[in-house]
Symmetry: C2
Subunit: 489 residues, 2 copies
């Protein structure tokens, strides 16, 4: 899918005085046709308003279509109930407040938890298929199953702070790219809603009137500049900025080390820069979702993750984004997974074996770790694991087994040799209504944003499914608020 | 010193059409009369322009006057030479590039290193006194001495990446608040330069013309609103934002844990928000300078810093801001300094003793650390220290001494019980000329910023003296560029 590439002057907003004429008009103009844009357009169109979606690619989908199609939902959804899991909005709230911080947006988390079951129903009504089945754990299901623990719900300290429940709801489709099915459904629902869709349009910047209200956009279409008037609001749903190297250098230089960017080409920060140009504040721009995919097969969680100095730094059973954050930000992306022969299996995701040796002492030497360091780490771990305990990091009992059977192996999870996956979590500061705020915390009239163009549910501390939650739910809220409907529904 | 307090709508810029009349006029309007503002005004006034400084307090000084008066200077200053230290712009550059990143601003660092000796001369010419003497190490001198190692120059890995030299130049004054002497000198030089100074004026926001050029400011003075026309530019020198709770929550929530804010009341982010309102991008807003002052007396560096799990996490001889960053951001602000009886001394800065026990095993227990954790840490440390080595973190040989003599003590350096000191390092994105950039990297005509209102030399990884370096040097550059002089001088 080709997209128009242009890192140019998105923040250089135009004034109405500079508009020769409006080439198009709509009540609500939605920039970007991923999950957030689709849901915003559907809500506005179903309210009887003229919604116009502008997409730079030749069709809808965006990064959402490339995702695993997992949406974080809970509080007692029909699927959770059918699979025998108890959940409540309150427990979900407690988990998200504990895991999405510090700096988590309490108002968004509260609204999302309270509305999660209704949001599930809305998705189903709009053709998104979910199978009534429980898969297990992880950020994706290789089968067409639905429910899984997609965060750190079962791990310390979260399991003590909130009653665990699986809340990852993967859209029904065989294979790990269920996002394509989600977007097939949402694109169809958008068309059905009556919203108009224009593709191959690269929105350049916003148009403001003299009072600072956002009243339209300037776009490039078939080589020409065209102005689009938005009578009730513009909703920016244009993704994050991981594919804009300069912005990453400027705001989040630590993320540069991750080799795999989970994003479509369109994630070049254009939406964020447009919003900033109109006076919006971008917040938490340093934060990324950093995935270190080492937990398949699950068996491998029985190993211990150590840094260059042979020291453990985390309970290995927390979610792989929490591990990724710690490994990259605290340990400089230089970590190894230590296994003994009993638990050894080849990791599912590409990873190299750094060393295999007959003893921990030899492994320590082969990894050029300080003498005694890894040996002491394994000694302390084993001593407690033998009693089913991990007083250092509190890995769950199921994964505790002394590492005693030679040979011992180290899997290389350094950024250099393995696939850290990353996308950005920072973006425009918005109210739960999607209204974009200035650095003073004032609402910018006529301007909305949703999805990865915003700082959303997870200020940091990601659980899988939160980006599609941000996109689908807060896209809807923005679409509703822009046309004067109640928020939440 | 009373200041006008107002967290209000700094980003809500005015347009020239809204200006009833200009109450004041100047070539260059400088917002804030700390080190950056003084130096900007001096350069503009000495070029024969009409420079007007607006200060919210009743007199000049700002946070600079509250500081230790240490300026990071090098490359072979007269003081360095007189004290027998060799240095070059290149070695200084290598050190700053290694320590101020990732994300360090190479253009600023390059210019500053190349101009550092000339900048020293400029300061001396403008009445800033320095004594030709070497003090030692640290972020301040309790005496009136000048030179000290004020960063991690002597510590691993920096000592291997750049030839160490002391570059902290403390202004000559007895006591640790030499910043007051610096500002006495710079305020006098400002008056002498012919710049006009208005105090008790709270600048509210910027005034832009229809083309987006910054042409003035709106201020509140004696209860009335007054507009100030800036014919050649406005220079924002209004400090950081550590005293704006909402901004800290929004951009840098991790810094909330630090109990002591090294800042005057004026550091409420007003300058940054004004710049953002005019279209400027604020970058690295998550970063702070976090000081954990445990290295006086120096003897204490022979102890080992451990986290809640009894594990070391850093070489104890790096600079106290690097230790502070690691302790707060990686270890959640929960660290302890472990000492034996041979090296025990009471810390100079307030700190509590968490436990004193007859053995490391008992100390481990008293600190509720996992069984074996601290014991193994001390065992590995001692084994290598006995050979004069620290393969884990490479603390310098001088500080390596096995911890073997009971009783053993733990000093409490948790955020809860000790004085982590913090100020913000994020701010407006500027060129070395002081010109403020938009999110697209475009220059905003008429707008400059310097000092802690900007993201400066240290993207992170602070060394003491870098803020006064940012303020004095880039304040000067902004003043020069605004009136059309060459930058650098």
């Amino acid at each position: 899918m080709a997209i128009q590439r242009d890192m140019g002057k998105a923040a250089a907003v135009r004034r109405t005085g500079e508009v020769p004429r409006w080439h198009h008009e709509a009540d609500v103009v939605v920039v970007g046709f991923g999950a957030a844009g689709a849901c915003a357009a559907i809500e506005a169109a179903e309210a009887g308003r003229d919604a116009l979606v502008l997409e730079r690619a030749s069709g809808g989908g965006g990064t959402s279509a490339l995702s695993t199609g997992q949406i974080y939902l809970g509080g007692g959804t029909p699927i959770q109930k059918a699979c025998g899991f108890e959940d409540s909005a309150e427990e979900m709230f407690k988990y998200l407040m504990a895991s999405c911080g510090p700096g988590a947006d309490e108002a968004k988390i509260r609204m999302y938890c309270d509305q999660s079951v209704a949001h599930y129903d809305w998705l189903v009504r709009h053709g998104v298929p979910f199978k009534q089945s429980f898969y297990g754990e992880g950020s994706y299901t290789p089968t067409d199953d639905c429910l899984s623990y997609s965060g750190s719900e079962l791990a310390h300290p979260y399991c003590e702070l909130a009653r665990p429940a699986p809340r990852g709801h993967t859209v029904q489709q065989e294979g790990i790219e269920a996002g394509s099915m989600l977007m097939r459904a949402l694109c169809a629902a958008t068309e059905k809603s009556g919203a108009r869709i224009l593709v191959d349009c690269l929105v350049q910047t916003l148009v403001l009137d003299d009072a600072g209200q956002v009243v339209g956009v300037l776009m490039k279409r078939e080589g020409a500049e065209e102005y689009v008037h938005a009578r009730q609001g513009v909703i920016l749903c244009a993704g994050g900025f991981i594919n804009n190297k300069e912005m990453v250098n400027r705001y989040a230089p630590l993320l540069r080390k991750c080799r795999f960017r989970a994003a479509s080409d369109g994630d070049d920060g254009r939406g964020i820069r447009m919003g900033m140009g109109a006076g919006g504040a971008a917040i938490r721009m340093d934060v990324g979702c950093i995935v270190l995919p080492f937990t398949v097969p699950k068996q491998l969680i029985k190993g211990i993750l150590v840094n260059r100095r042979g020291m453990r730094f985390i309970n290995e059973d927390v979610y792989q984004t929490t591990v990724g954050e710690a490994a990259l930000l605290r340990e400089n992306g230089e970590v190894f997974l230590i296994l003994d022969n009993d638990i050894f299996e080849r990791p599912f995701a590409p990873a190299e074996i750094a060393a295999v040796e007959g003893s921990v002492a030899e492994l320590e030497k082969a990894l050029a770790m300080p003498e005694g360091s890894l040996q002491n780490t394994v000694e302390v771990y084993n001593r407690h694991a033998a009693r089913g305990e991990d007083p250092l990091f509190r890995k769950a009992r199921d994964y505790l087994k002394p590492l005693v059977t030679p040979p011992f192996a180290a899997i290389d999870y350094t950024t250099k040799n393995s696939l850290y996956t990353v996308f950005t979590l920072g973006g425009l500061h918005t109210l739960p209504t999607g209204q974009v705020l200035t650095p003073d915390g004032e609402v910018i009239p006529g301007l909305y944003a949703a999805g990865r163009t915003t700082s959303g549910l997870a200020a940091q501390g990601y659980s899988s499914g939160l980006s599609l939650a941000d996109g689908t739910f807060f896209g809807r809220m923005a679409g509703r608020h822009a046309v004067g409907l109640a928020v939440p529904a």
